[in-house]
Symmetry: D2
Subunit: 366 residues, 4 copies
């Protein structure tokens, strides 16, 4: 693991998720750029001192040289510190599981893409919401035509944690996420908007072809967007709206996806990820539960517990790690795993949003 | 009543609503342009034969001349038949309660505005959703500062009744509502989008200052929009999204309003109009019910039954009629009643949507 | 109308409900036992002075003698004042629409039954919840076998308005409802428990054959039950639980009904009466809306407005009045109207609850 | 681990839960009474052949003798196979984490209690629902008086998986759970009713003092109850209803708890364990989320991820294992862990239900 030392947030989530299925063991790390914190964090996590490294370059070299070197590295640093370690490990032949968004600029993104092409190792980006069983089932159902031709998609990810001025109160997460030098320019759009878009594409199979955006920072002096209103056009003529906000008071992690085709509609929200509604045109709305009655395979293929027991965020996250273990272990083709394409899409998204907004909402095509 | 003969929809709703509080009696009508249907409908409704008129002009003249002439007329015809009768009755000194949207063109709208100015009678537009007690309470709470300065508004009105091609199957409502000559050019935007916008303004007190729209007709050969994606800018710097759709499978009458300020947030939907959530910043979300505990006056001022007994659409509608009875009877100032300003706003909205959409989503200012 | 003068509650609800469909007009009343209040109330409601009576006996005699005498009387007095006027009007040949529960004792109930048998007039008891369109649809669906053989029913009616000691604070409703001399002995069981039971029977078609109860008064010094826990056995072997409470903090009017058969299950609650879930065994749960897609006739037969527009309590109430107009007008057979049988069942229920509870929860058979 | 070999259910859940926090490693097992299945299962789970035992006695002896012997054993066999291994391991000085209910008879329960008293090791019963953060917060809030004196509790655990005749179709879980010889006599009451009761007591701090029950088997030929209606009396005068059913079509794992005191009320359901409503008397209902705004410590003390990300069943389960690791490791006092008292309560509950039901619902005191 690179990053994820004491005081970090997402590193811990990766560790929980990686443990759940018993297929990963954390044995090495460059957990912090601060040497003392790196050592302390490693000790706390049971990493042997000789495998706690001062920096990611040293780690990549040393681990590649060991007979029992790591199978993969998790990169859980802030956005501007994704590209360099990703490339270093890929060059060393070690697979990479990287937190989203991909990196901090389109240039970095291109470099990563090149490194992936040149490496024998794999690259996985943790758009973890695609691990929710019902999102995988929705994807299946759309692919087999249950919704007909997709017409309209309403995607949103609403939070409220930046309604105040947390970045001025020493909150470590708020500080780097609102610092364009570290976040890469996007605020809400990068942090959560990329998740909403990735999920939209994962489920519908439709890429965005153009967008029109209206970004705004309501936080006083805030340098990145904290509210984003976006209209999208998708492959095949579908229309979408995407709303990402970090100032919508009363929303904790309100990721919601509503999809309407000419034969039916879906509605799902992360607050209760274990249920989704499906309305076939001209019939009553159905509540589809994770692995519930009358659904055949579907969500049950990616679930660990019976329907009615709510499955959580961690489990979805763990499914990504599990799929990654398959892929890296030579089993399966990783078809469901977000990879470089998802990363490139996200980077385009951020850049296009900023430009469209700056240009009075002009349509930016891809 | 003008319009509302056999086979019509909204006329019946007006009659229910007008009866509920016992303050109106239906005594005269020009219920259909078809003479036989007009007479039959009048008989069915207990209107005396001598007060069932062949056309609205005859009715306006005759009723104005009677000592026991009508206090007000309800105009419940298709959109393109709003202006002429409205003006005729106003000119005759009879108050008008007119269904929305105001009329079929900006020119007609201007003529109506002129007639109102010249008349001693009143004009009321039935944006009936403003009659919901909780919407009136939300307006009160925002006005007194409970949400602080408004930042973001998400408004939507989603239906699915035009997912198929109902207008080709003889459905009377679908036929005129998708005929630009009768609807006035707007499809979903006029029929339901104006409701969403009106409600947004009613509750927040903020008018729209500019918008960017993406309209589309998914119905084959359909001449008016059946899906509208719109970004709005509101007075004072707030941003809004408005979605109106008649092809969102699984939505019957999904009018929803979410409002976020720097001190709190509201969420409400018409499916369950008797509850609204209110989240003060930094505190748990509250479920506010119509006249429920701990709220002081508020919604209880406009309610007929105790909290917990769900109040319906008809009751909200009846509140408009009740307020209109007050206004016309010389009691109160009609401050909560939608009138010509709301009508003009709606007409602008329709026109601006069409233009922005045609111009690649360009911002159209008011 | 008998009762329902100034300061009363349910009288106003009856008046709203009776007006909605335009088939009733309030023309006479004995609105209060206090002469001044009766006169004032009558004036306020537009009742002619010569048809505002000092007592119900005078009213019954006078109205029966008039050529334009009333078609029916609404009796909306406290429970102990139901029997005498009901019998007086029936004896005078005038139909009676009486609020529930039937009366204050089994003796009174028997006298009413006798009077009904001897009279040419009709008797209707306003168990208004049976007027909800989805409850009528549920009844239809069960009758045609959609749930198979009924096994388990969970009925409840939870309120919280008596959590404190309202009856000591001058609340008129609380005073008479907690006074055994006026309420007839039952507290929550009579006031709301009878509603839950009536609805259970109306929907399932199954009468209760035996019960075991645990009643309690949590209010200090309160003489009637404010919480009732009851186990029931139904015709044909089904088992039921019924909970009625007026001290369940957070419940306004939480009437809920859940029914499970060997082929499917229903769940409905009054808080959102416009939706009901139906789960066919082995298939996903469906959300059935009032008149919604794919249901054929059903709820649509008793509804005034399209699905998605929430219909309210008043409309359900008005359906009873409407049905009563049919019955009294000689149209239809009143098959859906609660009558004397429902009243007798309710009286048995109250008495049996009290006895079972007093006897340590012993089973009391009917 | 004892039990949990191929084809079992709850063993897998224990393994997921034990892995989540990285504090347990599965190193030994007697996974099946069938030697081949035991060996195969062990191999699959990475247990060394020499630590895969033919039976629990051999395992207890051998592991106790090893320097690196296990810290604890998980017992995940059917109910009738809980007592013997529990006692064997306790006698060997090895701590036991046992699935509920405690065992198959009151006699066995007493023997286990004796063994615990004589052993230096710990005993933990996995009433896992007490690990849900909001249930721990509810307990805290009740303990500090937020609900005042508890009056009424409505507890239920409704499933539908035994609506048909699964036990005749070869379903392994259904076979042993409906076999009185293996389940211990109780059906729904043991399998899920004990969970509901345990949670009720955990949260309110009130033990049941008496009950009245009506059990029934709707499944043809089924020898244990599949529906249980129970009225309870709790310490201090509170009244409760408990409903456990395995034939309630449309319920997957509907564990719900509603608690009403003289100052407020709580409502929670496992379907969405991340939210709970709290209504202070005379104030609006609040939606309390896991670690959400304005709550101080509370649920946040037992949570791994931020509010809004739904936490699941597994995480609650893992909290028990985590607490157990503390307790066994000498840290903390295990105050929140269900132990022998909870087990004894459950056994009483089963026995009392059967007896009360057999005796016409007579009150059975504890």
């Amino acid at each position: 693991m690179v990053g994820g030392g004491q005081g970090a947030f997402i590193g811990g989530v990766h560790r929980y998720a990686s443990r759940l299925d018993g297929r990963w063991e954390l044995v090495a790390g460059a957990l912090s750029s601060n040497a003392q914190r790196a050592a302390d964090s490693a000790a706390e996590l049971g990493i042997a001192p000789d495998r706690s490294y001062a920096n990611f370059n040293a780690m990549a070299v040393a681990e590649a040289a060991r007979a029992d070197g790591i199978d993969a590295v998790s990169i859980v640093t802030p956005n501007h510190m994704h590209a360099a370690p990703t490339i270093a490990f890929l060059n060393a032949g070690i697979s990479v599981i990287c937190d989203k968004p991909l990196c901090a600029s389109l240039d970095e993104a291109a470099e990563i893409a090149t490194a992936i092409k040149a490496s024998r190792a794999h690259f996985i980006l943790t758009h973890n919401y695609t691990g929710y069983p019902l999102m995988r089932q929705a994807r299946q159902m759309i692919a087999r035509g249950d919704l007909g031709k997709i017409r309209v998609v309403q995607a949103e990810y609403a939070q409220d944690w930046l309604s105040g001025a947390l970045e001025t109160e020493g909150n470590k997460q708020a500080v780097w996420r609102t610092d364009p030098a570290k976040s890469g320019g996007g605020g809400a759009i990068g942090d959560i908007g990329t998740h909403a878009l990735n999920l939209l594409t994962f489920v519908t199979g439709l890429d965005a072809t153009a967008l029109s955006a209206d970004l705004h920072s309501f936080g006083k002096g805030r340098q990145v967007d904290d509210n984003a209103h976006i209209m999208l056009r998708l492959d095949g003529g579908a229309k979408a709206m995407l709303w990402a906000s970090q100032v919508a008071v009363g929303n904790e992690n309100g990721l919601r996806l509503r999809i309407y085709g000419d034969k039916g509609g879906f509605e799902w929200g992360q607050e209760n990820p274990n249920a989704m509604t499906f309305t076939p045109l001209g019939a009553p709305k159905q509540i589809i539960t994770r692995g519930g009655a009358g659904l055949g395979g579907g969500a049950g293929d990616w679930t660990r517990i019976p329907p009615g027991h709510p499955e959580g965020y961690l489990e979805g996250f763990a499914t990504i790690y599990n799929d990654a273990a398959d892929l890296i272990g030579g089993k399966g083709d990783g078809a469901l795993l977000p990879g470089i394409d998802a990363g490139l899409q996200g980077m385009w998204f951020i850049d296009a949003c900023i430009r469209s907004s700056r240009d009075g909402g002009a349509w930016v095509s891809r």
